[in-house]
Amino acid sequence: MELWNIFDTEWVPVGAWVESLLQWVVANFRFIFQAIKVPFDIVLTGLEDGLTQAPDLLILALIVLVAWQAGGRRLGLISLACMTAIGLMGAWEESMTTLSIVLTCVVFCSLIGIPLGVIAAKNDRFWMILQPLLDLMQTIPSFVYLVPIVMLFSIGNVSGVIVTFIYALPPVVRLTNLGIRQVRADMVEAARAFGASNRQTLYKVELPLAMPTIMAGVNQTIMMALSMVVVSSMISVTGLGQMVLRGIGRLDMGLATVGGLGIVFLAIVIDRTSQSFGISARDRGHKKWYETGPVGAVRGLMKKG
């Protein structure tokens, strides 16, 4: 009997609805999404051009110096080893592309995520609305929104940055919110008691005290961005992810391994360096960042000279 198998018929055509909605948005509002691409495009192109066109050894030296400055001599050496390995494997060009995509993503996640987190910490209702959105962004499998993203933004590296941005934004928002809320109430009260405005309290007391937590959020965001590298290569994003994808497609185990190792080495360098940025001056024995590392050494020399 028909009644026993009612679910043979599609009663609620969700698929068709979404399809036509998307078509409608694409037909009428595509220009908005193209406009959104512009700032991402500018930053990404700038970074990518810089990183790929400059001499390899110069970039290598720069990365090592930054790592040394942030995390001390040991981290400098680790970075040197990792980046040299990438270069020797022949994945330098691709790793620079990936690095620029990850950095662009971090720039935008911080630029948008930290203010969102601050507002969320100040406004409970805003946080109530934001929280499920963040959950959604993190839990929807990224494959699901690859299609609409492509339809709205088309394919390529910039779209890759946007996909990665959506996936990697939540941690920095969450941890900024947490960090600001965790600042001891009497620290904030003291600032107010000495005549600070809300803005001054935020910049002089709350943000500095929340900074280690915020940086932990940025670090997580970076790691999530890196984990999107392979997925986003499905929408023609170049770089290390594409090496892996091509390797899998052609059953070329060598190519996939080179790409995979490249991602791992790059992840080590970026993760350690960004973690070191999060360590507060208090834990470094109250030394300012410019009093340590290569900059400190140069300053020391200049003072002597």
């Binding site: 001891r184 009497d186 620290m187 009260e189 003291a190 600032a191 107010r192 008691a193 000495f194 005549g195 600070a196 405005s197 001054q200 002089k204 007391v205 500095p208 005290l209 507060s280 001056a281 208090r282 109250h286």
Partner: protein
């Protein structure tokens, strides 16, 4: 009176979303703190507090934990908004001030010291102490000069470029005091400033503060949950219970004449030797002759007892003009000592 520096009138604070409703009900039915909590899910923080503090004095607010002391002082610089009532500070009306007037008042007129120091760990002592000047836009050199001066007054001049976590608790609280004094405010609010310190250090800081306030002419609102401390520091003491001020008086008045059982319970273990004065416990002479054992009107109980060491004949109390004002028998001295 013109020399009243801080005055609160009919001040109420009820925490919670239904504060106004709860307030009406309290006024109409006289609900207790528990009833307000159960019926309106609000907390009665301060109940109808009225008090005034004269220029130059140290006014102590004393009470058990949760009695509303912190809530009450935070109204003076309006860190907490009153539910109703008036607040006057340095002949300005605080409860109707706008945001910028309020910030100016906090930065220039009122300094505050906190129970757990509340020093900012990411700032040097100099930057901690100079914060009030910084938010007012004072130039860095001037700020540093003022910070240094304030720190030196606390014997911490050499620590100006160090960080709070490099200091001991007692030193940190001296920084807290320096921070409150840096802008040279007329008024100090001190919320249990010495409670977190061990007894010896606490004693030292009390002495240092008394010494300081004796020649600085500041008006101080001093909170403590320790009656001994209140008696040592205070020119006047207000005792709070469940948000209400139950008694205001000089230390001697509080100790010799507690108003109710709650106050009496506090006063029980307090030594009267340095508190009770001859004037308070003397009897009339009733025509008897003055003895050779003589004390002044304001002599403390300790001095009077000294006179009974040799023999037990009464002590004569002399007024400043040299005539005998009254006498004290050993019996009334001992009664006063017992309390």
């Amino acid at each position: 009176m013109s020399d009243v520096q801080i005055e609160c009138r009919d001040l109420w604070k009820i925490y919670g979303r239904r504060a106004d409703e709860a307030m009406k009900a309290v006024l109409a039915e006289g609900l207790s703190k528990e009833e307000v909590r159960d019926r309106y899910d609000c907390v009665l923080g301060v109940r109808d507090a009225t008090f005034s503090v004269n220029k130059g004095e140290i006014f102590c607010i004393m009470g058990l934990s949760g009695s509303g002391k912190s809530t009450l002082v935070r109204h003076v610089n309006r860190l907490i908004e009153p539910t109703s009532g008036e607040i006057h500070v340095a002949s300005q009306r605080v409860d109707t001030m706008n945001e910028s007037q309020l910030r100016q008042l906090r930065a220039e007129t009122i300094g505050m010291v906190f129970q757990h120091m509340a020093l900012w760990p990411h700032r040097t002592l100099g930057d901690n102490v100079g914060f009030g000047l910084e938010v007012r836009g004072v130039a860095p050199e001037q700020r540093r000069e003022a910070s240094l001066k304030a720190l030196e007054a606390m014997d911490l001049g050499g620590w100006i470029d160090h960080y709070p976590d490099q200091l001991s608790g007692g030193m940190q609280q001296r920084v807290g005091l320096a921070r409150a004094l840096a802008a040279d405010p007329e008024i100090l609010l001190m919320d249990e400033p010495f409670s977190a310190l061990d007894p010896l250090i606490r004693r030292q800081l009390q002495d240092q503060f008394l010494d300081l306030s004796a020649h600085m002419d500041k008006t101080t609102l001093f909170i403590t949950h320790d009656l001994d401390e209140a008696i040592r520091m205070g020119d006047h003491i207000a005792i709070m219970n469940d948000g209400e001020i139950v008694q205001i008086g000089t230390p001697e008045e509080i100790v010799t004449n507690p108003k109710d059982d709650y106050v009496a319970e506090f006063v029980k273990g307090i030594s009267r030797v340095g508190l009770v004065r001859a004037e308070t416990i003397m009897d009339r002479l009733d025509g008897r002759d003055a003895t050779t054992k003589q004390v002044q009107l304001d002599a403390e109980l300790g001095e009077i007892i000294e006179h009974f060491m040799e023999d037990q004949t009464p002590v004569t109390v002399m007024s400043p003009d040299g005539s005998a004002a009254g006498q004290i028998t050993i019996k009334s001295a001992l009664t006063a000592l017992r309390g």
